[in-house]
């Protein structure tokens, strides 16, 4: 059984929550949400996951499914979600429009403050998430537009100020903040990806581990079964990361 690139991305995202125990796994993006739920159904059963809305589901839900009668174990409306951010029992995997070498992220705007070239979302919860919670990132399309020397607006704080920036998973690779002065470091490339391609598609010099860059692990047979048969039988993951 050979895993697709999207499936490698899902398990790489899942591994971000490895060892977290009983915390909320908050996720944005298809592979990231599937990763949180896969982790819960396999090696991290105490994780809390949601229905994509304000309900904590009794079991990890398939993509797009509702919790259904008896399927809810808790209520987390936005106000309580914001309480949880300060309280800290939460590991969030966010997206980013820009991410720089110090792990600072931007989802707010690109260009001039008074008249931005591109107005994006606004900072959302990124300042609080990164300051108070373990934070990882999921970047579905690794490119020099995303990985920039310096972000235009610091929405998510850099590794120096953050509570704990864990890892960055992209469609090409797994990275962390273990480089010199807490800069972005290339940990592993996904099977079939050349290390050179990751460097070419990154807008700054990437640190690499002393022992060399590894290859991201393949999902186990059981992980593939859960992902394909239970969590995402319609293959929504393949649209986010085309083969």
């Amino acid at each position: 059984m050979t895993a697709t690139r999207a499936e490698v991305c899902v398990t790489a995202c899942a591994d971000a929550w490895r060892g977290d125990g009983e915390v909320l796994a908050a996720a944005m993006g298809v592979c990231s949400v599937l990763g949180a739920r896969l982790a819960r159904l396999t090696f991290e059963p105490d994780l809390l996951t949601t229905d994509g809305g304000p309900l904590l589901s009794r079991e990890a839900l398939p993509w797009g499914a509702e919790a259904g009668p008896g399927g809810v174990e808790g209520w987390l409306p936005f106000r309580d979600h914001l309480w949880l951010v300060l309280h800290g029992r939460r590991h969030v995997m966010m997206g980013a429009s820009q991410l720089d070498r110090h792990g600072r992220s931007n989802i707010s705007a690109v260009g001039d403050r008074e008249q931005p070239r591109s107005q994006l979302l606004g900072v959302r919860g990124a300042p609080g998430n990164t300051l108070c919670n373990p934070t990882s990132y999921w970047i579905p399309k690794h490119s020099r537009r995303v990985f920039v020397e310096e972000v235009d607006m610091v929405s998510g704080v850099g590794a120096e100020d953050a509570y704990d920036l864990r890892r960055v998973v992209t469609d090409l690779a797994v990275l962390d903040l273990g480089g010199p002065d807490r800069t972005v470091r290339l940990l592993s490339v996904h099977p079939g990806v050349a290390e050179e391609e990751v460097h070419e598609r990154t807008g700054f010099d990437l640190a690499v581990p002393e022992g060399g860059v590894g290859v991201t692990r393949e999902p186990s047979a059981e992980e593939l079964r859960v992902l394909r048969e239970v969590l995402d039988p319609d293959g929504v993951r393949e649209k986010e990361v085309p083969a």
Partner: protein, 276 residues
């Protein structure tokens, strides 16, 4: 009251809070009425969605105070985006939790509430009016902590949409999330409520009675009044219409037709047109 009477009670330069969240349970019938009214130069305080977008598209806004503006299934709100990129509006941008504390402070008549959030981010850089405050108590680490003093978000008026209300101004939500609507009501000098249906008595648990009449100045019955945002369980988001709105905003010619048919008409005409 009618939506037009509510809109008519606002005046130029006011700070107006709008309930809901993103493209969820927004008081769109009241927003449409504000769009038809002559009021201008508003400061809009909102977990922003198409409420902010529509008001920007109609030139009603001087400043937006928000942690984000999004249509949820369309990530970027195109009218807000255009207004920013054309340099037409100012943007006071807070983290979601800071924004909550601003409402909480105003609701409790506190000048500010402290939070660590903001430190290390550019929220402090782009909002130079924000100040920090030193805790009078030592932290567990020994040194007293410096915290961001989020100023109270005082509102001249708030607009909120709920599932049920009575004529006296009590409001009930029946969906899965109250959002921050009760806090908007408590933070405002005057709150106007619209509802899917006016009732004489409420069904459902007392916890669903989100807003009480002491904070409400006027009520309007507006069936479909959150359209095209979601208003569970009375109705889901109208995704097709939302996409149509987003496309119209991006195209001046489409916008002219959209505006004539869906904005420059009264609420009953709007409701007729969207079901045609």
């Amino acid at each position: 009251m009618t939506p037009d009477e509510i809109a008519g009670s606002l005046s130029d330069g006011m700070t107006v809070g709008i309930g809901g969240w993103g493209s969820r349970r927004k008081p769109m019938a009241l927003v449409r009425a504000v769009c038809r009214s002559p009021v201008r130069d508003l400061t809009v305080v909102s977990y922003g969605g198409p409420d902010v977008g529509l008001l920007c598209a109609l030139g009603k806004v001087r400043r937006v105070v928000a942690p984000f503006v999004t249509l949820d299934t369309v990530p970027l709100e195109p009218a807000f985006r255009a207004a920013r990129q054309n340099g037409e509006i100012a943007f006071t941008e807070y983290d979601e939790g800071m924004f909550l504390f601003g409402l909480l402070a105003a609701a409790h008549r506190l000048p500010f509430l402290p939070t660590p959030v903001g430190r290390g981010s550019d929220v402090l850089r782009v909002n130079p009016e924000l100040r920090t405050v030193r805790s009078p108590y030592p932290s567990p680490g020994g040194e007293p902590e410096d915290l961001v003093a989020v100023p109270a978000l005082h509102l001249d008026a708030a607009l909120v949409h709920v599932n049920r209300a009575d004529r006296r101004g009590n409001g009930q939500y029946l969906g899965p999330d109250p959002y921050m609507d009760d806090l908007f009501a408590k933070a405002a000098e005057r709150t106007y409520l619209s509802c899917e249906r006016l009732v004489d008595a409420f069904d459902g648990p007392p916890q669903s009675l989100l807003i009480n009449r002491a904070t409400v100045s006027g009520v309007a019955e507006t069936p479909g009044g959150a359209h095209f945002t979601s208003c569970e369980p009375d109705g889901p988001r109208d995704e097709a219409f939302q996409r149509r709105y987003a496309e119209a905003v991006r195209d001046p010619q489409l916008w002219e037709g959209f505006r004539a048919r869906f904005v420059d008409v009264d609420e009953p005409a709007y409701q007729r047109e969207v079901t045609r």
